[in-house]
Structure formats: C-alpha cells, structure tokens
Symmetry: C2
Subunit: 258 residues, 2 copies
C-alpha cells in the first residue's frame, strides 16, 4: 500500500477555532496530519509576513486526535514557512487552510489570511486549498461542508492541482440537503464600500472602526458569487502571477521620453 499522504493544516482564525478542528477531523481520514496555525485570530491579515519581529512556535495538545500540532505567534503565511522549513521532515503532499469562519469569495481573496496561507504553500510548489464557510459566527456549523471538503482534497491528492494554481473553496451557509454541489468559477468583480464608525476616546481623541458593505458588481453566472447565492459550493482556481498580461501592449504606447 502506498504511503499515507502528509497533509499540512493551517488557518487564520487561530488554532483552537471550530473551523480548523472540523478540517483536521476530515484530513485525518485522508492522511497523516500536521497542524501549524496561529495562536490567535489573524483575520484580514492578507499576505502579511513577520520580518520585524521574532516568531514563537510551540507544540500543543488540543484534542485527542492523531495529528501533531504547533501553535505559532505569526501570520498564516509565517505558519506555512515555519512548517515547511522547521517542522516537517518531508514536503507535504497537500496544504489545506481553514475552514474559515466567513467568506473569502471574490475580492475577499485579497484580504484573506486563510487564502494567503494557501497561496504561500502554492508559491513553494505545494498543492494547496483554502476552505471558507459563509458564516462569521464562532459557533458556525461545519458539518454540511465535511463531505465536500474530503472530496475536493481527495481529488487534489489524486489528480494534482494545476501548476502555480491554488484553490479557493467557499461554502454557502446552508444545511447539507440544500447544497446543490460544486461549481468551478471565476472570481466575481466585487468590492467593499467602506464605512468608518468614528468615535472618541474618553480623552476626546477621534478614532475609527472599519466597517463596510459588500457590493457585487458582476452579473456573470460563472462567478463565485453567483454560485454561492444559488446554493453551490464555489471553487475558484487562483494564481499568484498578478501580471495583467492584456495591459502590456497598451502601456507600451506610453511616451516615456518627455
């Protein structure tokens, strides 16, 4: 029998979050699992890495599962880097991140710590998937997603993921019987319309809380937003070559000699 796959698990909600517990449970059915995840919530961390501070890493025991677990003081991207260089004795066959408490669909991929961990693994040549559930609550119910998480991870292990591509998987917040299946999608054109909640300290100094409203500007039926609104699980292949190749010829018409 072939060697069991080695699976690295991380997230951005912190190592004790219910979402990563659900993900570990599913991954233990597929392979040997090592968890390296932030010791505190890191939502909205984008692809931050820690270069002006040191990193702590600690072996931890959170439940009675067969996985090995380490908590890290850094960002999700730091966790992947530390795992690969300092913890794992061979390259993992798969890196999974999540299950995030909240959406990482469309433009959210840019701000997402969950996806930055997956992208970091992808940059290092490791097949990687980020999973997110459209429910921000700490007590979100991940049961409906488990079957699909397993199926997608199994496909990735068996088929590989196209080179230089990472998967961004989002689950609508629906009971299992209402889930219509998986759809491969493109990232919808959407953004956040920020609103700042301006307040004053007891000493009279202004400060702000960032809040906002998500606005989908894209009517396409091939987008992740459409899929999620219509009961499908969205899978977007994501790349880290950000070059807008189509814009190169336009820019070559600029006059740089003035």
């Amino acid at each position: 029998m072939a060697k069991r796959p080695l699976i690295l698990v991380t997230n951005d909600d912190g190592i004790t979050a219910p979402g990563i517990r659900a993900l570990i449970e599913v991954m233990l059915e597929l392979g040997d699992v090592v968890v390296v995840a932030p010791d505190s919530p890191q939502s909205g961390m984008g692809h931050a890495i820690t270069i002006n501070s040191m990193l702590h890493l600690e072996r931890v025991f959170i439940d009675n599962g067969k996985q090995k677990e380490y908590s890290c003081s850094g960002t999700p991207a730091d966790c992947v880097k530390l795992a690969v260089k300092e913890i794992l004795d061979r390259r993992p066959d798969l890196c999974v991140s999540g299950i995030n408490h909240g959406s990482n669909s469309s433009i959210n991929v840019i701000y997402s710590g969950t996806m930055s961990a997956a992208l970091e693994a992808g940059i290092e040549g490791i097949p990687a998937i980020g999973f997110s559930l459209l429910d921000y609550n700490y007590n979100a119910n991940f049961n409906a997603s488990k079957k699909y998480v397993k199926n997608i991870a199994k496909n990735a292990l068996e088929n590989g993921i196209p080179k230089n591509v990472v998967l961004n998987v989002n689950f609508p917040n629906l009971p299992e019987k209402e889930l219509k299946g998986i759809k491969i999608c493109r990232q919808a054109k959407a953004n956040w319309e920020e609103e700042f909640d301006k307040r004053q300290t007891p000493q009279g100094k202004d400060y702000y809380w960032l809040t906002g409203k998500f606005v989908n500007l894209d009517n396409g039926k091939d987008t992740d937003e459409w899929a999620l609104e219509n009961g499908y699980i969205s899978v977007v292949p994501v790349q880290f070559d950000l070059t807008a190749h189509h814009a190169i010829s336009n820019l070559n018409t600029w006059n740089f000699n003035d």
Copy 2:
C-alpha cells in the same frame, strides 16, 4: 486652465521615511497632494486590513511642503480606505505608494505593503502606482528615480491606466546616468528560499527570525527581474482578479460525485 489633479500619497515604510518624502516632492510638481501614511513601518504587511482593532488618524506637519499630511495607526490598505472615505473631499485622480526602501519586483508584490496600498486604490477604481527602489537602506538615495517617477505619474494622469490594473514600478539601485530607461514587463517566476535563524530566549525558550534568499527561476527577458538586472526600470501591470482562467477547464474534469 484645468483643475490641478488631486494626488493621494501613501507608503509602507512610515510617513517619515525618506522614500515617501521624495515621492511627495515629485507629486507636488504635478498636483495637489494629500498624504495618508502609516505612523510606523509596515513592511511585509501584504494586503492586511485592521478589523479587530481601531484606527487612529492624526494631522501632522513634517516639512514645509504644500501637501496636507495625516499619519495613521493602520496598515497601508487602511490608509487608502481612510483617505478616500474620511479625508478627501473628492476622489483622487491618482494614488501613488512608496517610494519603497527595497524591491517589490516579481513575487514580492504578494508580500508588499506598498503594492497593497496601490491595489486597494485600484480596487476602488482609482488609478494607482507603487514605486520601489532596490535599496533597503534607510538612507537610500532616491534622486535618480525622481525624473522617472514624475514621467510615469504624468503618463498615468494623461492617459489613464487600463481598467482594473495597477502599476508596479521598480528602480535598480544605480546612479541616474546608468539607468537605461523604462521597460514594461511581466512578473518573473521567483520565490524566497526561507531560512529560519533559531535562537533561545534568556529563559531557554526557542524563537525564530525569518530570513531568506531570493531565487529567480525565470530566464525570460520580458520579466521585471531581467529588466532590473540589466539597468532598466521595470513597470509591471498588476491585476487583482486572481482567477487562473486557464485552469478552469482542467478542474471541470474532476469527479466530485464520489
């Protein structure tokens, strides 16, 4: 005579860094300048935003220039959001970020706070450019870049930047007479080979510093790395639709019905 353009300036090295001072000086030749930049260095912050904490914003006076300046306790992306919603009385005609002390070429675009500010502006529909100089020193000399910064910004104001595209401009660390001009490029395939410097606290607990070596895996002469190594200023058009469109058909062959 037409209204002077409104230019928003930010960075990730902090509002007092010499790089942003050089950028402000050039932008004052092109329009009215408002600066909203982090109150402390934010290098490596990727596209982080602040959602679990509040933001402070303060009017500051750093030199005798005509610009209006605000220092912000948040990330570069936060600075752009706050500027657009809370400070500026109209949409800026251009947002420029930098000049960064250090490279943001090739894969560094992913980790870059400088570029995340430019991308944030781009997401909000504002023409945006990130500038970086390949010199990490605090006392880096930005003089050679000024002429080109002005030229590129002027082109952007006059021609617009292609929709949903942001420019990533990097300068080789060379004296002006050795600069060969501007090249429109694609992002080179490169990555960092991390090395962790493992140490012990005085109490005997392990901790790590992230260090690493940049490895360019790409021999293409159309890449930013090639341009920079050969004395050119690299301009890469960057997009925030991360969809790997070419991978969609492959993923549609996966079997999700097991």
